[in-house]
């Protein structure tokens, strides 16, 4: 365990595994700061995972795949937006419906496509092109090389997005309006902010980022799609926002923490600790519950109008 390679390896793994969490959580953070709770994020991620995979496979380019994933993610979240903003449906139920629809559509489409591919005799080649290291020539650099330069463009995007989202929320006028909408939509409306349009744009952002997060799973981690490949990561991203007390840096840090619990699954085995693999798989979710249970403050830092429909 004191092997420096182990630590470097672990750091790189945490960053890599945390990437989809960071992407999804940042999108969810923007949306929740505007006052909308989206528990359909798991379904959005899954949709992005499949359609990103399919587009990548069909086009041969992971970048096109990522773009398709983002588009599909946005489309799914627009469904939530329609339900919550137009029909003023309950946000939790709408989120659950979104999960079911996305799950059904993605997996059904997968079966259809897979069948077509299998019938064409191409089953072995049913793989998507992967994102590789962004700076493959620089991985020799000690420390920075393996940890950063060996990461894919998605990880760099996630790292880049953290300060961007922070700046947007804390230092930009639109971000300020968004935060006001989440705290007191009446006050924001009285100041001339279009509450619905603001929340709609936030939904879009959450969809784009959630879809991209899903693409990370099938275009970077693996190169195939499996039916349950999200494995609750969307919900973990939800928990990361709560754990990070609805701040950008806190959310990113929470995502890295949860990424570490996912990474620990393999590392513990390698380190010779004999913990049952199934218990290790539980670790991220159990850690979420424990950390939330142990948080000392009762004030969660949530936007005051989170979850409440806005009635003009």
């Amino acid at each position: 365990m004191s092997d420096p390679n182990f630590s470097i390896d672990l750091a790189a793994a945490v960053l890599r595994i945390g990437t989809p969490l960071i992407l999804a959580a940042l999108g969810e953070l923007i949306l929740e700061r505007s006052g909308v709770l989206n528990i359909g994020i798991e379904g959005v991620m899954l949709g992005g995972a499949f359609f990103g995979f399919w587009a990548g496979y069909a086009s041969g380019s992971p970048y096109l795949g990522a773009l398709a994933a983002m588009a599909v993610g946005a489309a799914f979240t627009l469904l939530l937006a329609a339900l919550v903003l137009r029909v003023r449906a309950d946000q939790i139920v709408a989120g659950m419906a979104l999960n079911l629809v996305a799950l059904g559509v993605s997996n059904t489409a997968f079966s259809i496509v897979k069948r077509g591919v299998t019938m064409a005799g191409n089953a072995d080649n049913f793989r998507a092109p992967k994102f590789g290291a962004l700076f493959p020539n620089l991985t020799q650099i000690p420390l920075l090389g393996p940890i950063l330069c060996a990461q894919s463009v998605l990880t760099w995007a996630a790292l880049f997005l953290v300060p961007v989202v922070w700046f947007y929320l804390q230092r930009s006028e639109r971000g300020m309006e968004l935060r006001a909408v989440g705290e007191n939509p009446e006050a924001a409306a009285a100041s001339g902010v279009d509450v619905r349009a603001c929340r709609l744009k936030a939904c879009l952002a959450a969809g784009l980022l959630g879809g991209l997060a899903g693409a990370c799973l099938t275009l970077e981690f693996a190169d195939t799609y499996a039916e349950r490949c999200t494995a609750g990561r969307g919900f973990v991203a939800l928990a990361a926002v709560v754990l990070g007390r609805y701040s950008t840096l806190g959310t990113a840090a929470a995502c890295l923490f949860f990424g570490a619990t996912f990474a620990a699954q393999d590392r513990f085995q390698a380190a010779g600790w004999s913990i049952a693999p199934e218990l290790l798989q539980m670790l991220p979710y159990a850690a979420t519950v424990c950390v939330l249970a142990l948080s000392l403050r009762r004030n969660t830092g949530a936007p005051a109008a989170l979850g409440k429909p806005y009635v003009r």
Partner: protein
């Protein structure tokens, strides 16, 4: 959305969509229909429908109670598994072949209820003491329970069948499992479900506690001002919802005869759809559960012909979307247009 043609058009659209998907899967709709037709004539099919509907019914009732009390407890998935694990532990570790059925089986069910209630109360206590949203905690507990199940059936010291290569539990002795009726999957436990639903209907609409629960979900401020102990009620509801789902898990595993690697996947989430389609009425959960049970069994049946059974999820999601658009409101949502 109140025009008369909306509902028939929607149903027609849904059927068309299913046909299209079936065709895309390379299955001739006529073949699929014939397959379904044949299947529906066999009593095995309907026994299977009953078996699955029973689980969906109890879990759906669990969701009904929670939602009526204003609690977003979506942990039926995990509570179901907790109940199954507890019942199996009791059956294989405590009881043996000498245990008569009238002792063993009720105790197994009780163990299932208790385990489900505890699993649910974890989320309940967190909500009351630490303001942890029960949405997140129950979601996490679901995922934990899934891995817990895989864990206990993978180790002989726990619940794995000794000497087996498969990750599954040891088969129960004859006296501790539901017998199949005429060889079909139908079992005695199924008959309990309508009774429980009727009892829940009586409770909810004919007793003090039921009125208190409904009032708390609709207007907790007024309920508290009338002296209703909303905090205690909330915890009791968490416990009751968990007990129902745990009971479903226990009975499910007693019908199966052993604890498998994965049990009733996603039934907890389907239960939410069941509850909403039943408009949160316990008696209406029966036809709603039967409807979804039928869809489930049909999906499994056509799966052998090549239609993926995830179509089912899409259908459920769209049903909920349609209901939401129709204006189905959960109790506890503020009335925006209250008269002054």
């Amino acid at each position: 959305m109140d025009q008369f043609w909306v509902w028939p058009a929607a149903i027609l659209g849904l059927i068309l969509l299913v046909l299209v998907i079936v065709k895309l899967c390379g299955v001739e709709p006529r073949d699929a229909a014939a397959l379904m037709g044949r299947a529906m004539q066999s009593p095995d099919f309907w026994g299977e429908v009953a078996r699955r509907s029973a689980v969906l019914g109890l879990c759906g009732l669990s969701v009904v109670l929670s939602f009526r009390a204003g609690l977003f407890n979506i942990g039926a998935e995990g509570q179901l598994l907790a109940g199954a694990i507890a019942a199996t532990a009791v059956a294989t570790k405590i009881f043996g072949s000498e245990t008569p059925w009238f002792v063993g089986m009720p105790l197994m069910v009780l163990a299932g209820c208790a385990a489900g209630a505890c699993w649910s109360l974890l989320a309940g206590v967190l909500r009351v003491w630490k303001s942890v949203s029960e949405v997140i905690s129950t979601l996490m507990l679901n995922l934990i329970a899934i891995w817990l199940l895989r864990y206990v059936v993978s180790y002989p010291q726990l619940l794995q069948e000794p000497g087996s290569n498969f990750s599954q539990g040891a088969p129960f002795v004859e006296s501790l499992r539901f017998s199949r009726w005429g060889g079909t999957p139908f079992h005695t436990g199924v008959l309990l479900v309508p009774l429980i639903l009727a009892a829940a209907q009586v409770f909810l609409f004919m007793t003090r506690g039921g009125l208190a629960l409904r009032a708390t979900g609709l207007n907790p401020v007024a309920a508290r001002a009338c002296g209703i102990r909303t905090l205690r009620l909330g915890l009791l509801t968490f416990g009751a919802a968990g007990a129902l789902a745990g009971c479903a898990g226990a009975m499910g595993v007693m019908a199966q005869g052993y604890l498998p690697h994965a049990l009733f996947p996603d039934y907890g989430y389907m239960a939410i759809a069941v509850a909403l389609v039943a408009f949160l009425h316990p008696l209406a959960v029966l036809p709603s559960a039967l409807f979804f049970g039928f869809l489930e069994t049909a999906a499994s049946t056509t799966q052998t012909a090549g239609v993926p059974n995830e179509v089912l999820f899409a259908i459920q999601g769209l049903v909920i979307v349609a209901l939401l658009c129709r204006g189905v409101r959960l109790p506890g949502t503020k009335r925006e247009d209250a008269p002054a």
